[in-house]
């Protein structure tokens, strides 16, 4: 018995390397530490990704809003028109009188989860010039006219539903943008209609 105890102490007091128990304990500690760190890192990464994606959406919508407002300010309907000149179908809104020229248009189109903001300018020398920029991905985009009793039809409203991540159960968030035209037709005197 005494011999066994001596042998044990001989083993553990040995200065030349790790004992088996030390090694197992170390592996256990590293594993626990690894698991904790891994889960921590995963959580941190998920939070980062969520934050990133939320910031990305906010940033995209912010940029889209800024560009839309800038472009809509270039839409200049002559004051003598009866109403604002627009054409709309399911996914596209075409606004005439971009830069005050009847033939030049600003087009908003929602296609393949992307909102396209496109300007089409007829240059007498260079021909038709197109410039477009996509924003997204979005789940849904809706266009409507912005009007009030005082000014009548003065711009456009755009509602944007950001694309939902798989398994995301949060309530749908809608971003509403109102962009005003640079100039609007003068209302007729029967503006009570």
């Amino acid at each position: 018995m005494l011999k066994t105890v001596r042998q044990f102490f001989k083993l553990t007091n040995n200065d030349h390397g790790f004992t088996l128990i030390e090694a197992i304990t170390l592996v256990g500690v590293i594993s626990v530490l690894g698991v904790v760190l891994w889960s921590g890192a995963t959580l941190a990464m998920r939070a980062t990704t969520d934050m990133n994606s939320s910031l990305d959406v906010s940033s995209t919508i912010l940029k889209a809003e800024h560009l839309l407002r800038e472009k809509c300010a270039h839409v200049r309907f002559p004051f003598w028109l009866g109403s604002c000149a627009l054409e709309t179908d399911e996914s596209t809104l075409t606004i005439f009188y971009y830069n005050g020229n009847k033939e030049d248009t600003l087009q908003l189109r929602f296609e393949d989860n992307l909102l396209w903001i496109k300007e089409i300018v007829n240059d007498p020398e260079a021909g038709v010039q197109e410039q477009k920029e996509p924003f997204g991905p979005f789940e849904k985009v809706e266009f409507s006219t912005a009007e009030n009793q005082n000014r009548g039809f003065y711009g456009i409203n755009i509602n944007i539903w950001p694309k939902q991540e798989a398994g995301q159960t949060e309530e749908e968030e809608v971003f509403a943008i109102t962009a005003e035209f640079g100039s609007i037709p003068l209302r007729s005197v029967d503006s009570d209609e």
Binding site: L26, W38, G82, G100
Partner: protein, 361 residues
Amino acid sequence: MTNNSRGFSYFTVLIVLLLISVLFIGVSTFSHMVARTSVIISEIQEVKEEFVKEAERAVNLLCKEAASDSDSPEADSVHDNIWKEIRFCQIPEAKITLEDISSRLNPNWMIRTLFSKTEFKDLLNPDKSPDDLQSFREKQGLSVNINYHYRDFFSEENLEKYFTGYSYFNINLSDEFVLAAVFMERTGKSENEAENFRLNVQNHRLAQDPLKRLILHKDLEQFLKQDFELLYPVINAHPLFNVNFIDKDILKEIINYPYPDQGENKRISPTLTSWILDQREQQELTEKDLKNTIKPRYEKARIGQFLGAKTWFWRITIAKNSSALVWIVARVPENTEDAGDIETQSSNGVYYILIEERFSE
């Protein structure tokens, strides 16, 4: 060293920490950029709101000036109180300017004879004639963006000095085909109905009795019938130019124009130009003053459709550093009930409406 289990664990921790740090730096940089963009946009918005308040103050002053209880509701001139009050801009270091932009020639409505029988023909580029301008308008339509639309007809300098895209269409002075085009745009009616409207205008202009050639404001509603509500005030019979602000070169040519209703022997005295220019330096000129001076038939003669004392379109500019807000407001002359956040109605029913806004940062 890395093969040692303890050392390896430190290494793992370091790598994970490094990864988290990199991610954190990335996210914080991105969020900083988003926040910065958002701050810039909201700063721009704040500047704009400040400018808009100032522009609204100017519109309120204009409205106060047009009110029946003001010093001179019947005319707009440099002698009005608004010019003293408007100087006190509420924004430090900002500059506010107010400008009459309707007392100029408008290539959208000008008739051929106004060019061919006056020195205005010299304003046209050498290779262009009044007929070319009319054909162009019929083909290409009208535009408020005159600097671009009429760039082949007039030099940039002339367009800037003498022309505007902002003036109403006087039923007695505008080109008949232009009136028909505005009629169609405004009412949405057919080409045939627009042609009937044009023929009615033409018949009036060709009447035997010179006194019946003009459609006066009091008869306009009867003439336009059910379309009056849609067409007025875009088509009206108010004097186009304000003599208190009109450029002297334009004034001279308008006075020298051989008006058919004046008769060859009853040409308006050319001294009228210098009289108006002298008088307006000293005091405000009203329509009554013009009536008393341009005897005998100012009211029923075409010159009375050109020369008046009210400004219909104003440009308000507020500028500070590199930011500027430009508002174009139109004076709507008749009694309408509604008034809103950017329109201000005076006690006699005149109100101003914002028709164009430009903001540059």
